[in-house]
């Protein structure tokens, strides 16, 4: 299973390096979303109030949520791409014929998506710091949040991406399936990031625990169910 996973992940990443869809299309899309949020929420608008927190600009206060929304939308593209490369020329069929362990395919594809997400998060994250200007409170909490959110999005995204694989409706179906599932992840990631940036680590670790549990749940669900999802006979 692990060897199959490695093979699949290496293959997906090599395709990514060669086709440059991530860097040439998904990444600019993510950054563009960040800029567009700035149009939606005027950057000089401030929340009325006297205490420190309320005197931050609205955009700065909302920055964790906006960052994760940008990542979420970009993740949808990455997930879609991950299954698009398999459905052009009957490759999903060939993966089955070649005797790949379905759990290995799941792990490999999620690992590839996760690596792409990390690249996205780092660059879009730098963009968010520059554009929205929040302080950096607790890097350790922020780091674990990013890591576990990446895992949650990659595992759940790959599982749901496979649900639509092989169907002509995949492009539109997968977002409908994935978004409600990732809604709690968005919530948890936003809260944890907020607390890491603005408050220091008080309540953030609880949400990190939630993200970890979500990761494990979908890791298990994917490994167990991928055989049923991929097999067409």
């Amino acid at each position: 299973m692990i060897r199959h996973a490695k093979l699949i992940a290496a293959k997906d990443l090599r395709i990514e390096v060669s086709a440059k869809v991530l860097t040439a299309q998904i990444l600019p899309f993510g950054l563009l979303v960040l800029v567009l949020f700035g149009f939606g929420i005027p950057p000089d608008r401030r929340v009325l109030g006297t205490d420190d927190e309320a005197s931050r600009s609205l955009l700065e206060q909302a920055s964790p949520g906006l960052f994760w929304l940008a990542i979420l939308f970009s993740a949808l593209l990455a997930i879609n791409r991950s299954f698009a490369i398999e459905s052009v020329d009957g490759n999903l069929d060939a993966l089955r014929l070649a005797g790949f362990d379905p759990a290995g395919v799941f792990l490999g594809k999620s690992l590839a998506v996760a690596s792409e997400l990390v690249v996205l998060e780092v660059i879009v994250g730098i963009g968010a710091f520059l554009l929205y200007g929040p302080p950096l409170g607790d890097p350790l909490l922020l780091g674990s949040t990013v890591l576990l959110t990446t895992g949650a999005m990659a595992f759940a995204g790959t599982l749901y991406g496979a649900l639509g694989a092989g169907s002509r409706l995949r492009d539109t179906l997968v977002p409908l399936l994935v978004l409600p599932v990732l809604a709690p992840v968005l919530l948890a990631a936003t809260r944890a990031t907020e607390s890491s940036l603005f408050e220091g680590s008080s309540s953030g670790w609880g949400w990190v625990g939630f993200l970890g549990a979500f990761c494990l749940l979908y890791l298990g669900a994917g490994i167990l169910s991928f055989g049923s999802l991929l097999e067409e006979t």
């Binding site: 649900l163 169907s167 409908l176 409600p180 809604a183 709690p184």
Partner: protein, 272 residues
């Protein structure tokens, strides 16, 4: 009021959807059991309308809008606790033994469940306007219900995918199980989210109810459950008939193809 629900009075009613009461046992998706069930739900709904809209008094602080409570909470209980649990169980059994029966039960229950979920949302919002002054508040229950609604719309979309029926059923079954886990995750996370951020909002659901209001609520629960059961049975039967029809069309297709090819010759290896 609840004496109206005694089964004896209903059992004597004529069958509701009997197409020619004697010979064909199933001229439609109705049967004796379901017509009894159907009559019981109609009576229960009638009783609910009478008690809930006419007899019971308005609530002290909420006024008349408390009456939405009698359908809002029961439909939420029916879809979230009954309907999607049936989908979960059906999906698990299907994955274990590929029983078409349970696949169709899971699908039927989810479809009717989504309908009740829509009722929950609609009545919840209509109730919010007079009580909270706005159609939408980020009340944890309302919010998680909305997300769950999309979640199960996705499930129904997968059931309608145009692909190999067996593969589709298997995908739907996986989704039916994972969706139930999601239901819990969404509920839990949204609740945690709201409770951390601001204190619990004043919950009109905790208001004092007098006896006739309480009776209306329980009547609503009975009426919604009965109606749900009736709908699920019929939805399942429609799906079952569709399945039967497809199966018989398939048999015809196989027979036609077999006949067109002529008698099959037994094939012993020729060369080698």
């Amino acid at each position: 009021m609840t004496t109206e629900m005694s089964p004896e009075s209903e059992a004597t009613q004529p069958p509701r959807h009997a197409g020619g009461s004697e010979s064909p046992m199933f001229s439609s998706t109705a049967s004796k059991v379901t017509s009894v069930l159907g009559w019981m739900s109609i009576v229960a709904i009638g009783a609910l309308l009478t008690l809930g809209l006419l007899i019971s008094p308005p609530e002290v602080s909420q006024g008349e809008s408390v009456r939405l409570f009698y359908i809002h909470v029961p439909s939420a209980i029916v879809c979230l606790y009954i309907a999607f649990s049936i989908t979960l169980v059906g999906s698990i059994i299907y994955l274990r033994n590929q029983s078409v029966f349970w696949d169709l039960v899971a699908g039927a229950s989810a479809e009717v469940g989504v309908l009740f979920l829509a009722f929950t949302l609609a009545t919840g919002m209509l109730w919010g306007k007079p009580t909270w002054g706005t159609y939408w508040t980020w009340d944890p229950r309302l919010t998680s219900t909305a997300v769950s609604f999309i979640l199960y719309l996705g499930y129904l979309a997968v059931r309608r995918l145009d692909m190999d029926p067996v593969a589709r059923s298997r995908r739907a079954a996986v989704l039916g199980i994972v969706s139930f886990a999601n239901l819990i995750i969404i509920r839990f996370s949204v609740q945690w989210w709201r409770s951390l951020h601001q204190g619990a909002t004043i919950d009109p659901r905790d208001t004092q109810l007098d006896d006739s209001m309480l009776a209306s609520f329980f009547l609503g629960l009975v009426a919604m459950t009965l109606t749900f059961a009736w709908l699920v049975v019929h939805r399942f039967r429609v799906a079952w008939l569709e399945h039967q029809l497809e199966a018989s069309q398939l048999e015809t297709a196989i027979a036609e193809r077999t006949a067109a090819a002529g008698p099959s010759t037994g094939l012993a290896p020729g060369g080698a």
